[in-house]
């Protein structure tokens, strides 16, 4: 495995008394894409919350490029180069498209090999956002809002990009566009965790697969290996 970009080690997390993650461990290699799969309520989004510092785990640690980030606030985790495209997009609806991008702008880390993301490079990737850069974000379509959520995350010049169900609620044509963008980001060398319920989308692009089932890691593999082993995914994902 390449250098570790992100690792979750023996994470136990709770919402109140509800134990939602039990001893969850997985690792994302540098410049790789990890597909995190599972049914509704399996704990995928909770893994994202724990990684971003939105939910403190009771046990275990989160490490980003060798630095422990467990217990850090979300803004400190963002400063470590982790960005999140959240489930439901959660763009800042009262801000314009450009403002959504500007508030998330962060200089790239010294020695970064990638060209920095600025508003213009985001607009080059998503021309539709460029056309609507003065528009209030609440007035964008669902697909445009998803593009904005991705662009906003990229403005942080992340080393690790977490994408939580970016295809959710989008028309098939827009899903294809979003997936093409994700492919490009992967090819640019970004380390990505792609959370999805739909395994077909993930198997096409991910290097590694982790499947969660009721808050535990059920499978760690690769798409090819899963195919070869003939693992019964319906057992973990319910639909396939």
């Amino acid at each position: 495995m390449a250098t570790s970009a992100l690792s979750l080690k023996n994470i136990d997390a709770y919402y109140g008394d509800s134990h939602v993650l039990t001893d969850v461990s997985f690792e994302l290699g540098e410049a790789r894409m990890l597909g995190l799969l599972g049914r509704n309520g399996a704990g995928k989004s909770t893994c994202m919350s724990v990684t971003m510092g939105l939910l403190a785990p009771r046990r275990g640690e989160v490490v980003v490029f060798g630095d422990k980030v467990t217990g850090l606030s979300p803004e400190m985790v963002a400063a470590q180069g982790v960005a999140l495209v959240p489930q439901g997009r959660r763009i800042f609806k009262s801000l314009t498209v450009r403002e959504n991008l500007m508030v998330a702008a962060r200089k790239p880390d010294a020695g970064s090999k990638h060209a920095p993301w600025i508003a213009e490079t985001v607009f080059a990737m998503f021309p539709r956002l460029a056309e609507r850069h003065k528009q209030i974000a609440a007035h964008l379509s669902g697909g445009e809002q998803q593009m904005l959520a991705i662009g906003r995350a990229l403005m942080g010049n992340p080393r690790v990009l977490l994408m939580d169900e970016p295809s959710e609620g989008l028309a098939p044509q827009i899903v294809a566009e979003v997936m093409a963008t994700i492919r490009k980001l992967k090819e640019s060398g970004l380390s990505i965790v792609l959370v999805e319920q739909n395994p077909r989308l993930v198997f096409d692009v991910a290097d590694d697969i982790v499947i969660l089932n009721t808050g535990r890691v059920a499978v760690v593999s690769t798409p090819a290996q899963l195919d070869k082993d003939g693992v019964d995914l319906t057992q973990h994902l319910g639909v396939f």
Partner: protein
């Protein structure tokens, strides 16, 4: 005819003063979800601190505007301290925030009574604004017009800050979705302190600016706080435009209510608030917060 015109002009003046008071209150409630019941005290404290310099209670007198700036900065610092030392320890716990800010307002009232005594302090109208301005048949005090101008200048300044700067966009992002704002790297905690200090400073500025009209007296805080609450509920929390429109509406309701139905002045004042709470709980310009 003159009576109605004067009443209208007075309503606009009072609305301007209320805007200075309530803009900060609205911002603090909109961004931080803190129902800051010390806001009336910050208004009164600003008035007392400013009066101290203007009247010369320390043995020297300062120019009214310099005193206003000093009072604003001093009370902004007090607000920042209260936020950092107390309120940030109670995130999301609105009952505790209400109790703590209410307690602080009682302490501030006692502190003011102890330091400045129970007699009202009268603040002279600043030099050059003591006269009257004539509009046709109508004569209007120059200082009241100055308050309207100041309120408009502050409103435009706040609008530029919130709408045209990156800091303003960050504040609005924090109002929209505080958790997500933190996720994209915005230090919402520091923004909270800045916003609280700004709100406290504005309240203090309103206090000293309103001094020549209202004078400064024990209980001024309790007179002003309900008005700020009504403004924010009418206009919608976190909305600058809502604060402005709400202030002007309350300015009119308050003045006309006092003049025409003095026995029912508070009924007239709070009835629109009740209706807004029932029919549009987010206020006229606020967004629905689930």
């Amino acid at each position: 005819m003159n009576f109605w015109l004067v009443l209208t002009a007075n309503s606009v003046t009072f609305g301007g003063l209320l805007f200075l008071l309530s803009a900060g209150f609205s911002l603090i409630f909109g961004l931080m979800r803190i129902p800051n019941l010390t806001h009336g005290s910050l208004f009164m404290l600003g008035a007392y601190v400013g009066a101290t310099f203007v009247v010369g209670l320390l043995g020297f007198q300062l120019n009214f505007w310099l005193a206003a700036i000093l009072a604003t900065l001093a009370v902004a610092a007090v607000g920042a301290l209260a936020e950092r030392l107390l309120l940030r320890r109670l995130p999301g716990d609105q009952l505790a925030q209400v109790l703590v800010t209410l307690g602080l307002s009682f302490m501030a009232a006692d502190f003011c009574l102890m330091v400045w005594g129970g007699d009202p302090l009268n603040i002279a109208t600043p030099g050059g604004l003591g006269g009257f301005v004539r509009f046709g048949v109508m004569v209007f005090p120059a200082y009241r017009l100055a308050i309207i101008v100041i309120a408009i200048v502050v409103a435009v300044g706040l609008w530029l800050l919130l709408d045209r700067t990156r800091l303003g966009a960050m504040i609005r992002a924090g109002v929209d979705d505080p958790d997500m704002a933190r996720v994209v790297g915005i230090r919402v905690s520091q923004l909270f302190t800045v916003v609280f200090a700004l709100g406290a400073g504005l309240a203090a500025f309103a206090g000293i600016i309103g001094g020549p009209i209202l004078s400064v007296y024990p209980g001024l805080d309790q007179d002003m706080l309900p008005l700020a609450l009504v403004v924010v509920i009418l206009g919608g929390s976190g909305s600058l435009l809502g604060s402005f429109v709400g202030s002007i509406i309350v300015g009119f309701i308050y003045n006309f209510g006092q003049a025409l139905l003095p026995e029912l002045a508070y009924f007239v004042l709070f009835m629109p608030m009740l209706l807004v709470l029932l029919l549009r709980p987010q206020g006229l310009f606020g967004r629905h917060v689930p």
